[in-house]
Amino acid sequence: MIEITDLTKAYDSVPVLQKINLTINDGDIYGLVGTSGVGKSTLLRCINGLEPYDSGSLKADGVEIASLDKKALREYRKNIGMIFQSFSLIDRISVFSNVAMPMECWKYSKNEIRQRVEYLLELVGLKDRMKARPTELSGGQKQRVAIARALTMNPRYILSDESTSALDPKTTKNILGLLREINQTLGITIVVVTHEMHVVQELCNNISIMEGGVLTASGAVRDIFLQKPAPLTRLMGEEAMDIPAAGITLAISMDEKAVEGNLFYHISRLLQEEFTLLSGDFSANRTAGSSNIVINIAEADFPDLERFMEDKSISYRLLQKGGFQ
């Protein structure tokens, strides 16, 4: 578990992190989202001790990172694998040697290294490219090698710094699938820094949105995308929605599992198509398997709809005119 309280950091009196508070639970996939330069990468580097912080506390499994000396810090970093946007592989040595490097640095025997590296390359599906140079691989393959390298020391955490930002959509999907698999089968906690919304929606359970060194919104991905707080709409470059004065406007999280068939269809039949669709975000959210819509209905229709939704335990949120309830 990573517990961050009132974490503050400045570069030459320019604040980069201001009173950051967040907790990342074991087994979670946690997203740190924001535009570039808001401090999310710095926060990530504070977690593995690559960046010192000025004040506040950052505890990993109960240990304060700032209290570790150089040797203890190296020891601590064994628990943490890191993957980067630019893959960060050593181009002049083979895929095998790249993955083997952390274990070489920690002086494991040749035999142990061979077994572990072969197992990991099998896991990421690149065992047949073991002897290749990273330069011979595609972007997605390089990131797989980097993931295998991050896993060599059997870490408790993986920190991902924009690891899919340089990849095409299909490769991104593959890599996200691999990360999810690692999270589920190996139980590794993953912290993801990204500016890509679809990465968050496909991968993360919880997120924090960062703006100018401050966490402006935190919560479960499902709730955040349902509630669409101002930081999220700013991040997505959306104008705040114009909510009609008349009728009732509500945001509905359309959980595919809640009802048989298409929920949208059920709602439109119930309301006899007498409603306005204000916004619809149908991109799959893997944690909820849902999409979000915002509709405006006549006040008279609300009790029916409310009963229907309570019946099926569908989450929804009433939006007041010009703001959130």
Partner: protein, 222 residues
């Protein structure tokens, strides 16, 4: 120009062959010493810089100042300026042995800058990745920085060794011996152009050899 009489063939063994040998001796000794010293200084420069792995302002500033100061001297002036020190250390100020010390001092800063340049080209994130799996500073220098920059180092050092060759010939003007000295004393000053240009051609052959070996190594490592 006078291409009439030449003593090239009389001098072939006693002067020319001996000069080739002396030049190779100086070239080897100076290159090895200054590349080793340059390597140490360059690694220290990169590590102790403010965004390096071991920021140490005083060390960085001292090495940086020394490098800049020595580099701003023309080689010939530096050798002359170092004569008293050379006498103290080597016992004489002429000959191959006496040339090695001042020329190593003169060329080390060049080697330092060339190695530093190669090391600084290593991707910062690759170093960060190594830090993130707990590699020590020493391991990062050896296993990441030197390994990753090796082709660049080789091509820079090829350039550097050719530079050293140039420096040894210039040192010939003030008694270092070798091809440069012989070209001046037995060629230029005695108006024996054939001898002089033969030596020039020999130097050219040496330069080409170094370049070709360097290129082959670079291609192999890349």
């Amino acid at each position: 120009m006078n291409f009439g009489t030449t003593r090239l063939f009389d001098y072939l063994e006693s002067i020319v062959y001996r000069s080739v040998f002396e030049t190779l001796q100086m070239l080897f000794a100076i290159s090895v010493l200054s590349i080793l010293l340059g390597l140490i200084l360059a690694v220290l420069l990169v590590l102790t810089d403010k965004d390096g792995l071991w920021p140490q302002k005083t060390i960085f500033i001292s090495i940086n100042a020394f490098t800049n100061l020595v580099r701003s001297f023309p080689n010939l002036i530096l050798i002359v300026a170092l004569i008293p020190l050379t006498r103290q250390l080597v016992g004489t100020s002429v000959g191959v042995a006496a040339a090695i010390f001042p020329l190593t001092v003169a060329t080390t800063p060049v080697a330092t800058r060339l190695i530093e340049g190669a090391l600084r080209e290593v991707d910062k994130q690759v170093i960060e990745a190594a830090q993130s799996f707990g590699a020590s500073t020493m391991q990062i220098v050896v296993k990441v920085m030197l390994r990753e920059s090796l082709p660049r180092l080789v091509s820079n050092m090829t350039l550097f060794i050719i530079n050293v060759l140039g420096a040894t010939t210039i040192a010939g003007a003030i008694g270092a011996g070798g091809l440069g000295g012989s070209a001046l004393t037995f060629g230029y000053q005695r108006f024996d152009n054939i001898l002089m240009y033969t030596i020039v051609a020999l130097i050219l052959v040496l330069v080409l050899c170094i370049q070709v070996v360097g290129n082959i190594l670079y291609k192999k490592l890349k």
